[in-house]
Symmetry: C2
Amino acid sequence: MSPEQPSPRIRKSPEQVRSAVHQAVIDLLSDPEGADLTIPAIAQRAGVNHTSIYRRWGSREALLADVVTTRLERDWPLKDTGSLRGDLIAWAEAGVASIRTPEGRLLIRAVALSMPGSHTAQGERAQQFQRRIAAIESIRERAAGRGESPPSLEQILDQLIAPLYLRAIFGIDPPASGYPELLVNRLLGGAPGA
Amino acid sequence: MSPEQPSPRIRKSPEQVRSAVHQAVIDLLSDPEGADLTIPAIAQRAGVNHTSIYRRWGSREALLADVVTTRLERDWPLKDTGSLRGDLIAWAEAGVASIRTPEGRLLIRAVALSMPGSHTAQGERAQQFQRRIAAIESIRERAAGRGESPPSLEQILDQLIAPLYLRAIFGIDPPASGYPELLVNRLLGGAPGA
DNA sequence: CTCGCGAAGCAAATATCTGTGCTTATGATG
DNA sequence: CATCATAAGCACAGATATTTGCTTCGCGAG
């Protein structure tokens, strides 16, 4: 069957391990069968020895946090569009795009998730969320620097972040079109002033 | 130490078991140390044998769902105040009150939580959330019956439910006062028309 | 080219969780 | 008061996950 050698041992390099494990987490997370995200399962899927994972990441929590951070910062970046409205819409668009994929949903849900991970859970999760909040803060600061007066963080939290996260966590599809604009219009008021 | 007998076996009645187990789940959930919510841990905390839990609830998912449902429906009930605005504010107030207690936060978070519960997880969780949605739907229907024209479910989701859930899940305190009214005013528009 | 450090793989031990058969207390029923 | 169904507790077995000691490869420094 396998065109490969019956090779007794092909050792992966550290980078290969990292990459394979990350991918395995994503795969299992996306798996509609709801495969359980245990270290042994991840290891098998990634084709690495489970001890490699235990030793490198120490816990599932830490691994999850690593994967989530990496992916989220890649898929949900900040853009500088030159205006507050533009920045917020861009951010919301990236969010909506993320939410539309099963992978993205699960990823975001994983931030809120955790369960039997004990104490580290809280810390890691909070940190992830803090990172997202920090992104929003930098948008506000840029706006303030341009002389615009951005809404309070609370307002953005309630009207922009919350709807996106809720939908991600509970798997509710966002409206088919114009959703980012809708949210931002509600937040900033009526029509695109600038 | 213990003023009790070294009693070889004091068997709890089914109701005592149910009550003790529920309380144990709440306790562990509230525990800042982030104790892991495993059946054996819950059993020990409740002072019951773990097999009693396995046999009665079958899985951690089912147990969690039971506890959450029970508590949530007790602490976050629906009231009929006679107006859409009143109903929504009452609902939001109950939510805010819930969110202010560590227990309430964790409870709501538990709805979104779960993780290594595999497939059943999705179903149970979705059901919990559906129940909450149904509550909102009934508010809308009552309003429609009175001739009022309630906002769409989507709008309520985005502007009322989402902010509360987000804060519960990530442990963000709601504004000190007037928050329920603030949310409902945003949703229904300006001032209390009636 | 050789040496040596860091990390992957292997195997086996340990700890935990999950589930089963059986005994026996508890509370309801007649 | 006697009987009986239900469910709790106990002991133990099976399956998984977690951890550790040791070996061996890959790769860069000298």
